[in-house]
Amino acid sequence: MIEFDRVSRRFEDRDALRNLSLNIPSGEMAFLTGHSGAGKSTLLRLLLLLDRPTGGEVRLQGAATRHLKGGAVAHYRRRFGVVFQDHRLLFDRNVHDNVALPLEVAGYSPRDITRRVRAALDKVGLLASERAAPASLSAGEQQRVGIARAVVARPEYLIADEPTGNLDPQLSLEIMSLFEAFNQVGVTVLVATHDMALVSRLRHRVIALSAGRLVGSSAL
C-alpha cells in the first residue's frame, strides 16, 4: 500500500503538490495523469525519496518514510523498479550489464545475476540481444531493456514515468501489456503518463492531477 497523507510540496515560487491524499493498495495497477506541471513527477520523486514533502507524510506499507536516511533510503528504493521516459540506460556497458545493475547493487551472487538477468530479458523478449550495446537497439527495445532492469530484482512496486513518451501507439500498447503482465503476478504498478488515448484503452484506475491537486480518482 502506497499512502500519501495530506502531502504538500512547496517550491519557492509555486506549490507542486497541495494537500494531496491518496492510497494505492498493493497489487493494484494505476495510471497517474495530468498535464505537465500538474505534479506527476513531484509525486513520483516524493515516493522514491528523491525529494521530501514540505507537509504531510508518505507511507509505504504503513511505515513512515520521513526518517529514512542514507543506507535506509537505498534499501527502501530497492523495493521499487523504476522505468523512465528516457530509459536511462548506461551506454558504456552491454544490455546484460545494464539489467544486472540492480542485482549487483543488492549483492546477488554472479550465478544468480546471470540467471535472473536472462529471465528478465526473456520476459521482455530481448534474450537474443543480451550482449548487444544499448545504442544499437531501437527506441522500443531500449525501453524494454529499461523495463527488464526495473523488474529484474522482483520489486514490490513498479513505477513508470512517461514510459511511452517516445514510442508510437503500437509500441506503447506493447509496453503497457508488459506492465499488465507484471501486475498480474502481484506487482503494484503506477504509470505516470499524459497519453490519455492509451489510458482510455486500458481498464485501470486513473489518478488525475491538476495544479498539484487530486482532481479525480476513478476505479474502473
Partner: protein, 314 residues
C-alpha cells in the same frame, strides 16, 4: 514479497564480490587509456620520489654521523719523542681520571699499517724514510660532561708533558647532527607539501572521472545503490592511480640511487670509510607504494564526497 539471495550467498561474499568487481572494472578503465594512466602515475611518482630521495640522502648522512659515534672524543697526539712505553704510561694515568670513561692507544706503527691497507697506498708507505705518525691516545670522556667541561679537559690534556696536541672531535659532529635535524625537518615539510600536491592533483583527476559518470551515479542511486557502492569504483580508481604511482616512485628511487652510488661510494672511500651508499631497499619501495595507495584512496574519498554532496541535493 521481498527478494532474498540464495542462502549460500552471505553478505560477506556479496561484499567481497562487489569489491572484486569494482577493483577489476576500475583497473580495466585505467588500462583502456594507458597513456593518460601512465602520465598520472608519473606525476604521483615524482611527488613521492622527490621527498623519498631527500629522505634517503638524510638516512645515509645520519648513518655517517652515527658511525663516528655520538659521544665526544678527544684525540691526543703525542710528541715524536714519546716511545710506545711512554705512551702506555701516559694512557694509564689519563684513564684513571674521573672524567675519562675509556681510552685507547693507537700505536703509530699500527696506524700507519691501517692507513696503508685502507687506502691501498702500501707502496707509498713503504717508501717513507720513517713513520710520520705519532702515537695517539683516543680519550672518550664521560658523555654527561658539558661543553665547557670538555673544553677544560682538552686544555688539561694539552698541557701534559710529551703531548703535542689535544683535539676535541665532538664539535663538528654536534654541528653536523644539528644541521641534519634542521634539514630533516625541512625535508619532512617539503615531503608533506609534495604529498598534498599529489592528493590535490589526483583529487582533481578523480573528480573529473566521477563527473563523467554522473549519469551512472544517478541510476545507481535510483535503483537503491548505497553511497558506499557508488563510491567504490572511484576509491579503487584512486587506489590504482596511487599504488601505480608508488611503484613508479620506488623504481625512480632505485634508478636514482644506482646512478649516484658510484660517486658517493668514491666519496666514502676518500673519507676513509668502509661504508657504501644505502640503496632504497625494500622498506622504501613498500613505503612508497603504501603512501601512494593511501594518497590515492584519500584523494578519491575527498573527490567523491564533494560530488556526492551535490548529487544529494540534485
Amino acid at each position: 514479497m521481498s527478494r532474498q539471495g540464495p542462502r549460500s550467498w552471505s553478505r560477506w561474499s556479496a561484499w567481497r564480490s562487489q569489491h572484486r568487481a569494482a577493483a577489476r572494472d576500475s583497473w580495466a578503465k585505467l588500462a583502456a587509456r594507458p597513456m593518460a594512466t601512465a602520465v598520472t602515475w608519473l606525476v604521483v611518482a615524482i611527488s613521492l620520489a622527490l621527498p623519498g630521495t631527500l629522505l634517503l640522502t638524510l638516512d645515509n648522512l645520519a648513518g655517517v654521523a652515527g658511525s663516528w659515534g655520538d659521544s665526544a672524543r678527544i684525540s691526543v697526539l703525542l710528541d715524536d719523542t714519546a716511545d710506545h712505553a711512554a705512551a702506555e704510561a701516559l694512557g694509564d694515568a689519563v684513564e684513571a681520571w674521573p672524567e675519562v670513561v675509556t681510552l685507547a692507544l693507537v700505536d703509530k706503527d699500527q696506524a700507519l699499517t691501517d692507513f696503508a691497507t685502507q687506502t691501498g697506498l702500501l707502496f707509498l708507505v713503504g717508501s717513507l724514510p720513517r713513520n710520520p705518525l705519532p702515537h695517539t691516545l683516543l680519550v672518550y670522556p664521560d658523555s654527561t660532561l658539558a661543553a665547557a667541561e670538555l673544553a677544560s679537559l682538552t686544555t688539561r690534556l694539552q698541557s701534559l708533558p710529551s703531548v703535542h696536541q689535544a683535539v676535541m672531535d665532538a664539535r663538528w659532529i654536534a654541528r653536523l647532527e644539528a644541521a641534519l635535524r634542521t634539514v630533516e625537518r625541512w625535508v619532512r615539510g617539503l615531503g608533506a607539501l609534495m604529498v598534498l600536491g599529489a592528493i590535490l592533483l589526483l583529487g582533481n583527476t578523480l573528480r573529473l572521472a566521477i563527473e563523467a559518470r554522473h549519469e551512472e551515479l544517478l541510476v545507481v542511486s535510483l535503483i537503491g545503490g548505497t553511497k558506499g557502492f557508488a563510491r567504490r569504483p572511484f576509491l579503487y580508481t584512486g587506489l590504482w592511480y596511487g599504488a601505480g604511482g608508488g611503484v613508479m616512485a620506488a623504481l625512480l628511487l632505485w634508478l636514482l640511487s644506482l646512478w649516484v652510488s658510484g660517486p658517493v661510494n668514491d666519496l666514502f672511500m676518500l673519507y676513509d670509510s668502509a661504508r657504501q651508499l644505502d640503496g632504497p631497499g625494500l622498506s622504501y619501495a613498500l613505503t612508497a607504494i603504501l603512501a601512494g595507495a593511501s594518497v590515492g584512496w584519500l584523494a578519491a574519498w575527498i573527490a567523491s564526497a564533494r560530488v556526492f554532496r551535490r548529487l544529494d541535493t540534485a
